[in-house]
């Protein structure tokens, strides 16, 4: 058995740039930052009705979604672009409004940054590019795993030197 194949953590989401473009009655485009590819996608949509939300403010998006989706048809499709945490947290809001994961098209996240859930204090540290990373909640130095929780939009982190305080691995860039 290949060693690499052993280390795959199946909860780590996979993304593909290929967007499935099936039939739908309503399509909704939500992005944290608008880029040309995404606005092209919006322009090209042949749905009977379409909308575009461009906002990084999750509270505002929640209000917009409640209004836009209140009378949406079952055949709705949602396209999401942003950081990994953004797309999954908006995904949680969509799920609560009745959108299934199958109806969400998540584009590859805009950067390699991760959000990390600290298992000791339950705080999430954003914009993590390297591991180990310092927890914004309790200040512990965290190992960053590939175990991902959609509900938190974050990866599991635990104190990297809990067994031996002096044993701190060299910093590596996350991919």
């Amino acid at each position: 058995m290949e060693l690499e194949s052993l280390s795959v953590v199946v909860s780590k989401p996979m993304y593909t740039a290929e967007i499935s473009d099936g039939p739908c009655a309503y399509s909704l485009f939500i992005c944290e930052q608008l880029n040309t590819a995404f606005s092209d996608l919006y322009e090209a949509s042949l749905a009977d009705k379409k909308d575009l939300i461009h906002s990084a403010d999750l509270a505002r998006i929640e209000g917009d979604l409640a209004a836009l989706l209140a009378n949406a048809p079952a055949a709705t499709r949602v396209y999401l672009l942003g950081t990994e945490k953004y797309i999954w947290l908006v995904g949680q809001q969509l799920k609560a409004l009745g959108v299934t994961e199958e109806q969400m098209e998540m584009l590859p996240p805009l950067s390699a940054e991760r959000s990390v859930f600290c298992c000791h204090c339950y705080q999430v540290t954003d914009q993590v590019f390297t591991a180990p990373a310092r927890c914004v909640g309790c200040g512990k130095l965290l190992a960053v795993t590939d175990h991902f929780a959609k509900a938190h939009g974050a990866y599991f982190g635990y104190q990297v030197n809990a067994e031996d305080a002096t044993d701190i691995p060299a910093s590596v860039e996350l991919s």
Binding site: A25, A74, G98, E102
Partner: protein, 315 residues
């Protein structure tokens, strides 16, 4: 299976021209409560073989005094329903499995749309009381042929009012599935119980409209498939073991004092694997890969059987 429940037929009534309803009451232990959409497997001891058919429970899930099932008389290829209609009398005892459920409503749905074809209305009979208790948004679309089926249509119509829609193909009223699906709001889940043609029609309409497959649910019964008797021969000793239609190969081997290591007895764990040197296999397990099944030289005797009359096992 040792966990079967002995029940007595408390009453029988004709609820449509080809459908009979049976009320079953516990004899020894109380009945289990069950969840909406659950079914039981009823065992019918006939002369030659035991029929095992799955029937949805149509009583209110909170009623643990009795279970109700409805049986449609099918053509001769399905012997069980003929047995239920012709042999079973009030006061008879039957064995049933505990309830299991592969057709549970998704309670987080914003709206539930139930599509019933004929006797396929039965699982929804247990959905409805719970949906009313939870004040859920739902509709029942009931398709039947009044010369044969259509059980409970009057009480349903009365009880559900504008949530109830019926289509009688013996009176030329039909359901436009595409139109029905296209009107549904986001968050609707669709449940279908009826003939394959209805399930297919709904799935195709959903695909054409762009509804996700994960909101379409149809009933699948996990009824044990009927088995034919066969003979297993033990290569090392030449011993012949008769496997009846009711017993698994593993049970028959055990009854002949041939012990095989085993754990799950459900075709999953892989412990009881045996080598087959002769005879075709009817594979029914989840353990062997497709390649292993195609190779035809290993069998999981806890669930799989001979496809013909004889198997030779290398034990």
């Amino acid at each position: 299976m040792s966990n079967q429940i002995k029940v007595e037929v408390a009453s029988i009534c004709q609820v449509a021209p080809t459908i009979r309803e049976f009320t079953l009451e516990a004899i020894d232990d109380a009945l289990y409560p069950f969840s909406p959409g659950a079914h039981v497997v009823v065992e019918m001891p006939n002369k030659k073989k035991v029929y095992k058919n799955a029937y949805s429970l149509l009583s209110d899930p909170t009623d643990t005094q009795r279970y109700r099932i409805a049986v449609r008389l099918q053509d001769a290829s399905r012997g069980g329903s003929i047995y239920m209609h012709e042999q079973v009398k009030v006061g008879d005892q039957l064995l049933i499995s505990p309830p299991s459920n592969l057709f549970s409503p998704l309670w987080h749905a914003k709206k539930h749309v139930m599509l019933a074809g004929g006797v396929g209305v039965t699982p929804f009979m247990s959905y409805i009381p719970e949906m009313i208790r939870r004040d859920a948004d739902f509709e029942l679309h009931y398709m039947y042929r009044s010369l044969q089926t259509g059980a409970y249509k009057h009480e349903l119509s009365e009880q559900l009012g504008d949530k109830y829609f019926d289509y009688d193909s013996d009176r030329q009223t039909r359901c436009d599935v595409t139109a029905l699906l296209s009107q549904q709001p986001l968050g609707t889940h669709i449940y279908i119980c009826g003939p394959d043609s209805l399930i297919q029609a709904v799935e195709e309409a959903a695909q054409t409209l762009g509804l996700p497959a994960s909101v379409i649910h149809s009933e699948e019964f996990a009824a044990p498939k009927p088995g034919m008797p066969f003979v297993a021969e033990i290569k090392s000793t030449g011993q012949q073991v008769d496997v009846s239609a009711e017993d698994s190969l593993l049970e028959a081997l055990e009854a002949s004092d041939i012990s095989i290591p085993n754990l799950c007895r459900g075709g999953v764990c892989g412990q009881c694997v045996c080598t087959v040197v002769e005879g075709e296999i009817d594979h029914r397990d989840q353990y062997l890969s497709d390649e292993e099944k195609a190779a035809g030289n290993t069998i999981m005797p806890c669930v799989s059987r001979a496809a013909g009359e004889r198997l030779v096992l290398d034990i």
